[in-house]
């Protein structure tokens, strides 16, 4: 077995719990939401019956939404008040070289480029996923709250605005679901490097070897020039 020193802490307990709350609420929201959108399919109808009918399904959906919004608020608050989370957020901000990074990854995968660009703490793909989820959560929470208090909303806005809001909520959710399921699940489960599952989300630890391979710039910052 690898030595304890061979591992570094990538995610704290609080970050791991945030992640667990995030994905469990998102899974519940997806199941309860998509079954309503695709209510014509037999599978969706079966799931809706399992969920206790259309109206109870809505209650589950709103409860999960509250958990999601709470998690989101906690994340924002920690970015503001915790030094570590603040640094985490700053590392997530897109930089100039992230633009060329996407092209480079594509070229590398096509075999047009021998080496991957040297990544820092978060790769451009990880940043993209972080922001995609973040923006989706903001959009879906806002449009979801509007649907929740539709009569209140319609005191100010006309009916077509709520119809539009409905469209945005349902389609944005579909795009978000597609990105998460297809891409994120590939990256952390089916990806041949980590199959069947990357355990970072549970242990919060990555090996130094992995860090050196996936995030060489961070490795360099932490341990010097690969001489360790």
């Amino acid at each position: 077995m690898a030595n304890k020193d061979d591992y570094i802490q990538r995610f704290t307990v609080s970050e791991r719990i945030t992640h667990i709350l995030l994905f469990s609420s998102l899974i519940i929201l997806s199941i309860t939401g998509l079954t309503l959108k695709y209510h014509e399919s037999g599978l969706a109808q079966w799931i809706i019956r399992m969920e206790g009918g259309v109206l109870f399904r809505g209650k589950i959906h709103r409860l999960a939404a509250l958990i999601l919004m709470g998690t989101f608020a906690y994340h924002i608050l920690s970015i503001i008040f915790s030094r570590r989370a603040h640094a985490f957020f700053q590392d997530m901000i897109f930089r100039k070289d992230d633009l060329s990074c996407f092209a480079a990854i594509f070229k590398y995968n096509l075999g047009l480029q021998k080496e991957l660009p040297a990544f820092d703490r978060f790769t451009c793909i990880e940043k993209f996923q972080y922001w995609a989820v973040g923006i989706a959560v903001v959009l879906l929470s806002a449009s979801g709250l509007v649907l929740w208090g539709e009569t209140l909303f319609m005191m100010v806005f006309p009916k077509w605005a709520i119809d539009l809001n409905h469209i945005i909520h349902s389609f944005e959710a579909t795009v978000g679901f597609v990105v998460l399921v297809v891409w994120h699940l590939y990256n952390v489960h089916l990806n041949p490097r980590v199959f069947p599952m990357s355990k970072v989300w549970l242990t919060g630890k990555v090996s130094k070897e992995e860090l050196k391979r996936d995030h060489p710039l961070e490795y360099e910052r932490r341990f010097g020039n690969g001489q360790e």
Binding site: E172, V178, V182, R193
Partner: protein, 352 residues
């Protein structure tokens, strides 16, 4: 000799029987053929006991004789009051003539009308209340009570007067349809014999069943086309949350009649209509629906279909999202495919 006398008597008898049968009708009509033949009924009310022979002979039962239905006639003149005719003797159990076993009788037995009578409410109709007695005509006869256009006024509307008046003033009424046989009459939604209470889940107009009644016409493009309408309202309803929830059996969710009304359904541009833009906020704002609904509820199409170009911005945003989803999917799959190949290669190299 004796034998020939027997044959003679038998042939006389055979000749006389038909005369006797005919004569029996004559004998009934000796009294019942008189226009002023009257008697007091059990309630003490004076009733006419006159039977117009011409009308009876012209009716659907004109070939029968009196005693075919009035089975308890044992002697003429019959001293005591005869029992009420039981239509089910022919129309349910079946006899050598008559309609034979029919579902109508069973349907009626479970209907609200029959149940009310069982409870002792004799105002509820039995067969004769709607169909008449000696003057029953085939429903295809334009003078029949059961002829489609006569049903509301000559059958149901005799008791259900408010519903009749509402229906007559509605878009479904005869004024709006001018003799058009496509109009819905009472029985098209409520059925004929098996009518049930609205609150009965077995009713065709129960909250979760009523949409099925409306879409018999409103979901049929070939019918709607004749009135310059289409079936988009039905499609958009089934796509809406109201429609989905109703389909899943929720009964406190808006169905067609929740907004459009039941008997007094009026066109949207009629100021008295519950779906007129002026009145829509009050309709949506019913206490158990969206209390506090404002005029904004009427701003925008109600039956909005995102798949229809006429929906404007909603159509375009939905279309945009659809293509965004498709593009994202394609790009992701290409990326994943390439990434996967590359990493498999990498692994083999390392393994080698």
């Amino acid at each position: 000799m004796a034998k020939s006398r027997q044959i003679f008597l038998l042939s006389i008898l055979l000749m006389v029987i038909p005369l006797l049968v005919g004569a029996q009708e004559r004998r009934c009509l000796l009294c019942h053929g008189k226009k002023d033949f009257r008697a007091k009924d059990t309630a003490g009310k004076e009733r006419s006991l006159y039977v117009d022979e011409t009308i009876f002979r012209g009716s659907a039962h004109g070939k029968l004789s009196c005693v075919d239905c009035h089975l308890d006639t044992m002697e003429l003149p019959h001293g005591k009051r005869l029992k009420q005719v039981n239509c089910g003797d022919c129309h349910y159990r079946g006899r050598t003539f008559g309609q034979g076993p029919a579902i109508e009788y069973l349907l009626y037995r479970d209907s609200v009308h029959a149940k009310e009578r069982q409870k002792g409410n004799m105002k509820a109709p039995d067969c004769a209340s709607c169909h008449g007695t000696h003057d029953i005509l085939s429903r295809t006869d334009i003078h029949s009570r059961g002829y489609k256009l006569n049903i509301p006024e000559q059958m149901c509307g005799r008791c259900h007067t408010k519903e009749l008046a509402d229906w007559k003033a509605s878009v479904h009424g005869p004024t709006a349809h001018k003799g058009d046989l496509n109009l819905p009459v009472c029985t098209n939604c409520h059925t004929e014999h098996g009518i049930r209470r609205v609150a009965d889940p077995g009713s065709t107009v129960y909250a979760t069943n009523i949409v099925e009644m409306c879409i018999k016409c409103h979901g049929d493009f070939s019918i709607m086309q004749r009135y310059g309408k289409n079936t988009e309202e039905v499609e958009s309803y089934y796509e809406s949350f109201h429609g989905v929830a109703t389909k899943f059996g929720e009964k406190n969710i808006a169905h067609c009649a929740s907004c459009h009304g039941y008997h007094l359904i009026l066109a949207r541009n009629n100021p008295a209509s519950s779906v007129n833009p002026e009145r829509l906020p009050a309709t949506c704002g019913q206490p158990k629906c969206h209390p506090g609904a404002t005029a904004n509820f009427a701003k925008g199409k109600v039956h909005v279909n995102p798949k229809n170009r006429e929906s404007g911005i909603i159509y375009w945003v939905a279309l945009g999202f659809k293509w965004l989803t498709i593009t994202v999917l394609i790009v992701l799959f290409i990326h994943i495919f390439l990434d996967f190949l590359r990493k498999v290669q990498e692994r083999r190299k390392r393994g080698a």
